[in-house]
């Protein structure tokens, strides 16, 4: 019984993990059960979803391998001096 009902701390971690699709069906059930009676955690979950949408909507760029190698080479040359 104690594993079915979870605390708010546990629920908020589950909310975070849910944003990365990391929950098992059991954990999803526990989370839903908690949200059924906890307004605070439901509200946090909503904010967390909005935050994920915001981040996923942004375009993130990375240095390519060749760009990295070129910078590394410059740095190596400078370190030799």
């Amino acid at each position: 019984m104690s594993r079915i009902f979870i605390s708010c701390d546990e629920a908020s971690i589950l909310s975070t993990r849910d944003q990365y699709n990391d929950l098992s069906p059991k954990e999803k059930f526990r989370q839903k059960l908690h949200h059924g009676h906890c307004l605070g955690c439901r509200s946090f979950d909503k904010k967390s979803r909005l935050f994920s949408r915001t981040i996923n909507g942004l375009s993130w760029v990375k240095l390519s391998k060749s760009q990295k190698n070129s910078i590394k080479q410059k740095l190596k040359d400078a370190m030799k001096k």
Binding site: S12, I13, T16, R17, Q19, Y20, D22, K47, S48, F51, T54, I55, G57, L58, S59, W60, V61, K62, L63, Q67, K68, S70, I71, K72, K74, L75, A78, M79
Partner: protein, 187 residues
């Protein structure tokens, strides 16, 4: 706080992508961003003897990068001023006076507005990530942006999966608060 030592050999792998992202959201030019990141590392190497170890490597490199970006804008603004003087809209016959209309029309275009908003949001988020403790920022970026799997990150940082989720959770809460004060309240 334990004293931090600089490890320039690992800068590109550790901070390259983050600094590049930080720069590109401000200068909007991939080649220029790469140059600025590279200049930042070189400047860091040159002034390594002045690093007192009171901040993290990342914070220190970001402060150098910020100065580089300001210098870049100073240079490009002074060039732009000269270019505007040379611009000859009024001499180009039937295109007479189009310059101002083009500017107004561009700004009304909703796509451009969206783009500007996304760019500003990116800048705000990068600043919020920069304000996180280094470990939180690295793990958050690896999981959320680089989409690395949990096991790989745990191995790299020698932490358990539950530690990882606590760190990501705390990072997200701090970022949500930070964005709330930097971005949503502003709008």
């Amino acid at each position: 706080m334990p004293e931090v030592k600089l490890i320039p050999e690992k800068w590109v792998d550790r901070y390259g992508d983050y600094l590049f992202n930080f720069t590109i959201s401000r200068v909007n030019d991939s080649i220029m961003a790469q140059d600025l990141v590279s200049e930042t590392f070189l400047a860091g190497l040159k002034s390594a003897h002045r690093f007192k170890g009171q901040s993290t490597e990342r914070t220190w490199l970001i402060s150098i990068l910020k100065r580089k970006i300001i210098d870049h804008y100073r240079k490009s603004n002074s060039k732009k001023g000269q270019a505007e003087v040379r611009m000859s809209y009024l001499d180009s016959g039937d295109q007479n006076g189009d310059w101002m209309e083009e500017q107004v029309r561009d700004l009304r275009n909703p796509n451009i507005e969206d783009e500007i908003e996304q760019k500003e949001l990116g800048v705000a988020l990068n600043e919020c990530i920069a304000a996180l403790p280094e470990r939180y920022a690295t793990i958050f970026v690896q999981k959320t942006i680089d989409k690395l799997d949990t096991e790989t990150i745990c191995k790299e940082h020698d932490i358990t999966a539950s530690n990882l989720w606590v760190i990501i959770h705390r990072a997200r809460v701090q970022l949500m608060d930070c964005l709330n004060s930097k971005w949503y309240k502003k709008g």
